[in-house]
């Protein structure tokens, strides 16, 4: 069995978690014990793949060793930004579970969870500009925070296109870029820039991360059709039930036998109607076509690696591609 991604990249998961806890624990204005403290701590200890900080740290290897610690700063901010967005996404998606456990808003209440998400974002940004090297750290926090608007635009798109079965492939890709791929691209380039890599290198790493991000989102879309609720740690087939039009649905709509089953779906459609449409998609070629489409993006990422031929970080990029190809 393959080693976990962080081990393949010689990164310590406990160091990453320690950093995330440090951001919380070093907030001297935060009361302990408190609901806020225990909630954020619980979110951190619940774990996760930590793909975003891992990507930032890999990006940091394309800078200079003297500035490598600044890539860690980017890694911390990015994971907090991601965790905060998950808290808000779970409310927006009305999803009661996250990684098999109660989502934060289900464990507290919606108002509290929204403010906890906000706190996480604000605290990470405050932390990123603490310390002596404020000038150097500006990119890390502030430019990354500027991405929030685009992440939101991806969410607005998704909201606006619920049950819009006329969504085009181009629109789907645009939404996917904003919602997921942009942040993954930013992880790679932010780590690199923070660590002092030049713009051209950071730009190539952004393209690399963005391509992997699109592949990742498509694979995530596929899991909605192929995994059980137990495997996902959240309700399966939730995307379609919420009206989120993902790539398998777009491909299934091209099949004249499945199209009518999909077009009859709406927020008030019956469980039987959703189950029938889901079964039809699962038995169609839409899933395979989606997998092939995702592979095009991992191949694009592979081609970008050629730019880094001979660089000590080249192997790390290969490891990332192999991970996303799984």
């Amino acid at each position: 069995m393959n080693k976990p991604l962080h081990e393949q990249l010689h990164l310590s998961m406990s160091e990453i978690n320690k950093l995330l806890l440090h951001i919380l624990q070093s907030d001297h204005e935060l009361q302990r014990p408190s609901l806020l403290y225990s909630s954020v701590e619980r979110l951190i200890l619940a774990g996760g793949k930590r793909l975003r900080p891992i990507m930032a740290l890999v990006g940091g290897r394309f800078g200079t060793p003297e500035r490598a610690h600044l890539a860690w700063k980017a890694a911390g901010v990015l994971e907090y930004l991601h965790m905060a967005s998950l808290v808000h996404d779970d409310i927006i998606d009305d999803s009661p579970l996250r990684r098999g456990k109660q989502a934060l808003h289900a464990a507290t209440d919606i108002n509290t969870a929204v403010h906890i998400g906000n706190y996480m974002l604000a605290r990470a940004l405050e932390w990123s500009t603490e310390g002596e090297s404020i000038e150097e750290d500006f990119y890390t926090g502030t430019e990354l925070a500027a991405l929030i608007t685009e992440l939101c635009e991806g969410e607005y798109d998704q909201l606006q296109h619920r049950f819009n079965f006329n969504l085009t492939l181009e629109q789907y890709l645009e939404k996917t870029k904003r919602k997921t791929a942009l942040l993954m691209g930013a992880c790679m380039s932010a780590g690199a820039k923070a660590a002092g890599a030049d713009e051209a290198v950071a730009d190539q790493l952004y393209q690399f991360g963005e391509a992997l991000g699109i592949a990742f989102q498509i694979q995530d879309d596929l899991l909605d059709f192929t995994s059980s609720s137990e495997q996902l740690g959240k309700p399966s087939a939730a995307d379609l039930r919420r009206g989120n039009i993902t790539l398998p649905v777009i491909y299934a709509l091209e099949d004249e036998r499945i199209k009518p089953l999909l077009l009859q779906l709406h927020s008030g459609a019956s469980e039987e109607q959703f189950d029938e449409a889901l079964a039809a998609i699962r038995h169609s070629d839409a899933l395979d076509r989606s997998r092939q489409f995702a592979e095009q993006y991992t191949l694009k990422a592979k081609r970008i690696i050629e730019y880094f031929a001979g660089h000590p970080g080249e192997r790390d990029l290969q490891v990332l591609v192999a991970y996303f190809l799984k």
Partner: protein, 144 residues
């Protein structure tokens, strides 16, 4: 004159917000008028004054959006969460693009403390006074 400054800041914010999003901006806030007075009283480029006031406007409106969530209706709830997130993100986009990043060192802790107060159930009125104090401190340091 400071009404003009407020209007110019509102125009900047409206231009920045993606047209299709239709985010409502309620800027009828005494505290914003006072901030416009304060910022207007400093000797500095008008474009900088507008940027600083725009950031103050965004943080005020962003905080208020999340204090008034529409809990009964998922669609409206989702919109109000996203609107608040979007407005806060816009502060960073605006400040970074107009080279006013140091203001963010002041604004991030204010935004954080507003969340601490909201979670405690305390009144967020103190946020306006803190914003004015921190902006004054920023102007004293960086208005030249």
């Amino acid at each position: 004159m400071n009404n003009n400054l407020l209007q110019d800041a509102l125009n900047v914010v409206n231009e920045l917000i993606h047209m299709q999003l239709h985010i409502e901006l309620d800027v009828k806030d005494r505290a914003l008028y006072e901030l416009a007075e304060l910022i207007g009283s400093y000797r500095m480029a008008r474009s900088r004054k507008i940027t600083i006031l725009s950031c103050c406007m965004l943080i005020s409106v962003g905080i208020r959006k999340h204090r008034k969530l529409q809990l009964g209706d998922n669609e409206r709830l989702a919109r109000s969460i996203l609107d608040g997130d979007y407005l806060i993100g816009m502060i960073y986009r605006l400040a970074v693009s107009r080279k006013e990043q140091k203001l963010l060192v002041k604004l991030s802790p204010i935004y954080k403390r507003a969340q601490l107060k909201a979670i405690d159930g305390s009144d967020v009125k103190g946020v306006a006074a803190e914003l004015k104090r921190e902006v004054k401190d920023y102007l004293d340091q960086y208005s030249a």
